[in-house]
């Protein structure tokens, strides 16, 4: 999911029309615009942005 806003230990992330607040303590150096993998309300890792965009594109094509 893409980070749209940061606020301390939390960030607002979105994917399509889904928006969530997630904890970001587990991943260092995040900024708005980064892509993260979210698990049970926490960002668990940053996703390579180029590959994240490519994957989203492939998923869209399959749909």
């Amino acid at each position: 999911m893409k980070i749209v806003q940061m606020s301390g230990e939390f960030a607002t992330v979105e994917s399509g029309r889904l928006r969530r607040t997630v904890n970001i303590q587990m991943v260092a150096g995040l900024r708005a615009g980064d892509y993260v993998m979210v698990h049970a309300g926490f960002a668990i890792e940053k996703v390579d942005p180029r590959k994240a965009r490519q994957t989203l594109q492939i998923i869209d094509e399959i749909r």
């Binding site: 904890n23 587990m26 049970a40 890792e45 590959k51 994957t55």
Partner: protein
């Protein structure tokens, strides 16, 4: 073998099992956290739910897992306070809002979930919340994979499709022993159809070329060293312990329990309930073969209850309950 329950689900959901060659057999592994929680864990969670002044906080899949004589869903219908949460942090909020109650969070999951629970324990410690307790069934994947290779029964495994999100935490190295000591190839794969097909192709090549290793197909997420910060968080809060797995039995050094200094948050220490003895058990359909499904000894369709007495609307075993369970996947996607 696809170790992760989400891989099992997605192989079926995307119909990939139908396009793969028939001589390739996919074995569902023990990577569904709800499914591998020992029957005794469910029974004791039910005993906790029956205690006055206790609120159970749990991920949704646990609600309908049958214990020996009841489920958390049934206990809730009888008046027990059982709350579903998406994140462990919601259990913390629940404890803060209900200071006169004891909130027990059912800590179920693997290495991906462990740091999220560890951070919640830390937050409870920091904010001096003393009415939140963790009942841990947290488990570690590589020891279970080793167990599958050393148990001396079950089908021969010729490749492991390794879990993507667990690997994002632990990295590549914990699988090295599989390639080196057992000459079996591993591939860490993502969860999209193309990820999983690339993963299977890698395993076939490793097997045919006799070049077992640990291939990382999921490089957009998984770093070779994993998430070091998450590893430190886990090590700060938990210590490794032996754990009881449904289907696999007790495996040494395959679980996580709270460290001594945090034992005040440990439900088993703070609010002990008795383990269920065989004499007190009963009521559950003994012909349920989830244990063998989890050990990859049978396919879900070989269970006599599958599609007959057991379905997602009336599950008799955890593998049919959970959205990551093999029986659930085989039922929903033929």
């Amino acid at each position: 073998m696809e170790v992760c329950g989400t891989h099992t689900q997605n192989f079926r959901r995307f119909g990939l099992h139908k396009v793969l060659p028939p001589q390739l057999k996919l074995l569902a592994g023990p990577g569904c956290p709800v499914c591998v929680s020992a029957p005794d864990f469910i029974d004791r969670a039910i005993l906790y739910a029956r205690l006055p002044g206790v609120i159970i906080a749990t991920y949704g899949d646990m609600l309908r897992v049958p214990g020996s004589s009841s489920t958390l869903e049934r206990e809730r219908a009888r008046g027990a306070s059982v709350h579903l949460v998406y994140s462990a942090l919601e259990a913390l909020v629940l404890a803060q809002k209900n200071p006169r109650h004891k909130v027990i969070f059912l800590a179920v999951g693997f290495e991906t979930t462990a740091p999220t629970i560890a951070l919640t324990v830390r937050a409870a410690f920091r904010t001096r919340v003393r009415n939140l307790f963790f009942f841990s069934s947290l488990k570690l994947i590589p020891p279970a994979m080793r167990h599958l290779l050393t148990r001396g029964r079950g089908p021969e495994i010729q490749g492991f499709l390794c879990p993507g999100h667990v690997s994002s935490i632990i990295g590549i190295k914990p699988y090295d022993f599989i390639a080196k000591s057992y000459t079996i190839g591993c591939c860490i794969a993502g969860f999209e159809p193309h990820d999983m097909l690339q993963g299977v192709l890698s395993l076939i090549r490793q097997h045919n070329d006799r070049t077992p290793g640990v291939v990382n197909q999921y490089r957009r997420l998984v770093k070779p060293c994993g998430n070091r910060r998450a590893q430190r968080i886990i090590a700060d809060v938990f210590e490794v312990c032996r754990a009881d797995w449904r289907g696999l039995g007790v495996i040494e050094a395959s679980g996580l329990t709270l460290k001594k200094r945090l034992r005040g948050f440990d439900a088993e220490q703070a609010i002990p309930v008795p383990a269920m003895t065989p004499a007190r058990k009963g009521g559950r359909d003994v012909s349920c073969r989830c244990q063998e499904v989890l050990a990859a000894q049978i396919s879900p369709v070989e269970c006599p209850l599958f599609r007959k007495k057991c379905s997602p609307s009336r599950p008799l075993g955890p593998c049919m309950v959970s959205s990551e369970g093999a029986c659930n996947a085989y039922y929903r996607y033929r």
